[in-house]
Point group: C2
Chain length 213, copies 2
């Protein structure tokens, strides 16, 4: 789904580990409060080995008791702290089409601390209109408004051919990370992080499962 | 992004391998035609070791020449064959909202062989209207129409609370795989495959990169 990097961003936790943590977090969130969550349950839910789970979670500190399992709430809190989602993140979105409207209504984002606080587009008929309670501003105002809005992240939901120029504008405006839904790879400076969401990969994984399942 | 399973569906290739193949495929597609693609290039693009790349691709047959690299077109063809995307897949979509409209326009799907051929909703005001050139049918007609449409897959783009009942209806209608965009886990029988697309995981990965990057 995403642009990977060989170098581990934290110097300790790799992207692959971070992805497993996201999946463990889902298990912890859906697990009954107070009932211990075993590493074997996590392993089978996420599709990795028990040893892998214990290795991954050992890096988060002393969480589980041998033979007892993890407290789901404590586990979720520890994972969110490691991922950096134990605090809110403010994002601006560029490209106010159907995907943008869907993302603005997507509860999963806000539940995990991700808030879209500003909308931008180049289409005159969209500018100065409200979408899901947010005013749409012209892209040329990104630089001034990203600071005013205290946004650290940018969401790109424009067509492929516009994605790189929008990414460049967001980088100039000072965002530290980009979530791009354009079905193309966007390039950014090394001090900016980017996750390219490629929905076709999800379909490929499904085709693989149906073919071999 | 997806519901993983500990058991390897093909008995040989794991889900993790299939996900890496999807990323190698992206590199092969974006690589200049005719110019060899090295395993080290693939490794750095996808963020795994050279050895991992060579192991993964060795399983696809004799593709590369030692010291020369892989032909991007041959590599892409071999990966598509393994993933099962070397042929078209027909899908019906349930829940005709903004996300559905975005998915219907999402070029990345059709480029990888994934075609949405039927739309379903429960809202009277949507039924019998055309969206992106497709007629919207009532959900109660799923069973008869999935067969007529020769659809093997189902896309779920309804709110969380409706996702499981829609999944049940699609399973009764005979689809073999579900791509669910509802931010909840849907349960299906063992003979049906499901990929739960959880967009918040992408945001978590971005937060992690920005925090540690």
């Amino acid at each position: 789904m995403t642009q990977r990097r060989a170098v581990e961003p934290s110097g300790q936790l790799s992207r692959a580990t971070a992805e497993r943590l996201s999946h463990y977090l889902r298990c912890a969130i859906h697990h009954p409060a107070g009932s211990p969550l075993s590493s074997s349950r996590l392993a089978s839910e996420v599709g990795v080995s028990d040893a892998q789970v214990r290795r991954d979670l050992a890096a988060l500190g002393h969480l589980g008791q041998r033979g007892v399992g993890y407290d789901p709430a404590a586990l979720a809190a520890a994972i969110r702290h490691t991922l950096g989602t134990d605090r809110g993140w403010r994002a601006v979105l560029v490209g106010v089409g159907n995907l943008a409207r869907a993302l603005l209504r997507y509860r999963g984002f806000r539940e995990q601390g991700f808030e879209i606080v500003g909308l931008f587009d180049i289409a005159a008929e969209k500018i100065d209109h409200d979408v899901e309670g947010l005013r749409v501003y012209p892209v040329r105002e990104l630089i001034e408004r990203v600071g005013q809005l205290k946004a650290e992240l940018g969401v790109i939901s424009v067509p492929s051919e516009a994605a790189q120029s929008v990414a460049d504008a967001l980088v100039r405006a000072g965002v530290k990370g980009l979530l791009s839904f354009a079905p193309t790879v966007v390039r950014v400076p090394a001090n900016v992080q980017v996750v390219n969401v490629d929905l076709a990969i999800q379909f490929e994984q499904l085709a693989f499962l149906v073919k071999h399942g």
